[in-house]
C-alpha cells in the first residue's frame, strides 16, 4: 500500500486520530463501531474536502462529519434488533473509570452532551461548536447552560467564551 502523500488535511487527520476515536467512542460505547465511524468519517472528509472552504475551520468541519457519522450509527442501531449474544460481545473495552460526572454527561440528550463534550473535552469555542453542530451560537449557548444546569455545575462566574 502506498503511503499517502501529506496534505494539510491528511496530516491533521493522522495527528488527531486519538481524539476522533475518543469522541466516537463516547457516542457509540463499542470499540468496533467507534473504529468504523472514524474510518468512514475520514473517508468522507477526503471525498468531500472541497467543501472545506476555510482551512482554519478544519476542526469544526471534521467534527461535524464525525458526529453525523456517529449519530447515523446510533439511529441505525435503534432499529436493529439486538443479537442474542449482545451482552457477551457488546463491550470489549473496560468502561471508563466510574466517574459520576462523565456518566452523567453521556446520559444527557445527544445535542446537549455534544456541546458539553466539544466545549470541555475538546476545547472548541462556541463559534466552532456552532460550525460543528450546524446550529447557531445562541442555540449552542442555551444547550451549554441547560447541560451545566442538569449537571449541577455552576460556572462560578467564569465567562464562557
Amino acid at each position: 500500500m502506498q503511503t499517502p502523500a501529506d496534505t494539510p488535511l491528511t496530516t491533521y487527520l493522522i495527528a488527531e486520530q486519538a481524539r476522533f476515536y475518543r469522541l466516537a467512542y463516547s457516542y457509540l460505547r463499542q470499540r468496533e463501531d467507534a473504529l468504523d465511524a472514524v474510518q468512514s468519517a475520514v473517508c468522507r472528509a477526503l471525498e468531500r474536502q472541497d467543501s472545506l472552504r476555510n482551512p482554519e475551520l478544519i476542526r469544526p468541519w471534521f467534527y461535524r462529519i464525525l458526529i453525523n457519522t456517529c449519530l447515523d450509527v446510533l439511529r441505525r442501531r435503534s432499529r436493529v434488533v439486538p443479537l442474542e449474544d449482545w451482552a457477551e460481545t457488546g463491550r470489549e473495552d473496560p468502561p471508563p473509570p466510574d466517574e459520576d460526572l462523565s456518566r452523567q454527561v453521556e446520559a444527557l440528550p445527544p445535542p446537549v452532551s455534544t456541546v458539553i463534550k466539544l466545549r470541555f473535552y475538546e476545547d472548541l469555542s462556541l463559534r466552532e461548536i456552532s460550525e460543528a453542530t450546524g446550529s447557531n451560537v445562541n442555540t449552542v449557548k442555551s444547550r451549554l447552560y441547560a447541560g451545566l444546569k442538569k449537571l449541577r455545575i455552576s460556572m462560578e462566574g467564569e465567562d464562557i467564551r
Binding site: 500500500m1 486519538a18 476515536y21 474510518q39 473517508c43 447515523d72 449537571l151
Partner: protein, 276 residues
Amino acid sequence: MKKLEEARRAYENTPIPEELSSRVEEGIRQGRGARQRRQRLRRRWLSAAACLTLLIAGLNMSPTVAQAAAEVPVIGGLFRVLTFVSYDKTEDDINYSVTVPEVDAESALAETVNKVIQEKVDQHLAKAQQDWEEYREAFFATGGTEEQWAGRQMDVIVDYEIKFQSDTEVSFVVTMAEGWVSSMEERTCYNLNLTENREITLKDLLGENWAEISTAAIQRQIDEEPQKYFTPEMGGFTAVDENTAFYIREDGVPVALFAEYEIAPGSTGFPEFPLA
C-alpha cells in the same frame, strides 16, 4: 469546574485500539479513491457535453464534417461501443451520474448484451432509490429533524471503461456504485467477439490449460504480499474457474478482477491480477 476536569480526565483515559492508525489510513485511501472517481466523472461529463455540442453544430454545417463524424467512433468498422445515455442530475437529494454504454453492431450478441446492461442499470437505480427512501424514513422515524437532515445526499454512479478493442473484439467494464453512509460498488466485465457472436473466454486467450495458468499467476502475486489478502480458510482465493471475472488489457493480456471483500479485506480494494 473541578468535577468537569475529572470528567475530562476520565474521557481522555479511553483506551485507544492499536489498529486505529491503520483504519485511519484505510479511510484516507478510500476517500481519495472516491474523490478521484467523482472528479473523473465530472470531467468526462463536461467534455462529453462539449463534444456533443460541437458535433451537433458541425453536422448541421457541412457534409464533410458529417462524413468525418460518422467515422470517428468506429472501432473496426464492424461495431462500436457508444454512450447510450449520459446524464448528471440531482433529484430528491440523490446525485445521479449515469453513463450507460451500448454496443452498436449488427449482431444478436450485441442486442443481448445491451439488454442485460440496461436491465442491470435499471435494477441498480431502483435499488439505490429504495435504499435511500428506507434510510430517510428511518432517519425521521427515529427522531431526526429536517435541520439535521439538511445537506445529506447520496451519490449514484453508473460508468463504463473500454479496456481493449480490435476489429472484432471488445472488452469493457461497467461500474455501478452507490455512496452515502457506506458505499457499495459493483463492476461487471464484458468480453465480446462480435463476428463470432460469442463471449471471449480465458480458454481463448490462454489455451487449454487456462485454469492452471491463471490460478498459478494469481497465487504468485498473492504470495508476494500475503498480508493484503484473506487466507483460503478465511474465504480467500483458491482457484480460477469459468465464473472468474476478467477484462482484456490494452496489450491483450487478460486481467482477473475480484469484487471488494471477495478475497481480501476492504482496504485492498478491488484486487486485479494480470494473467501473464
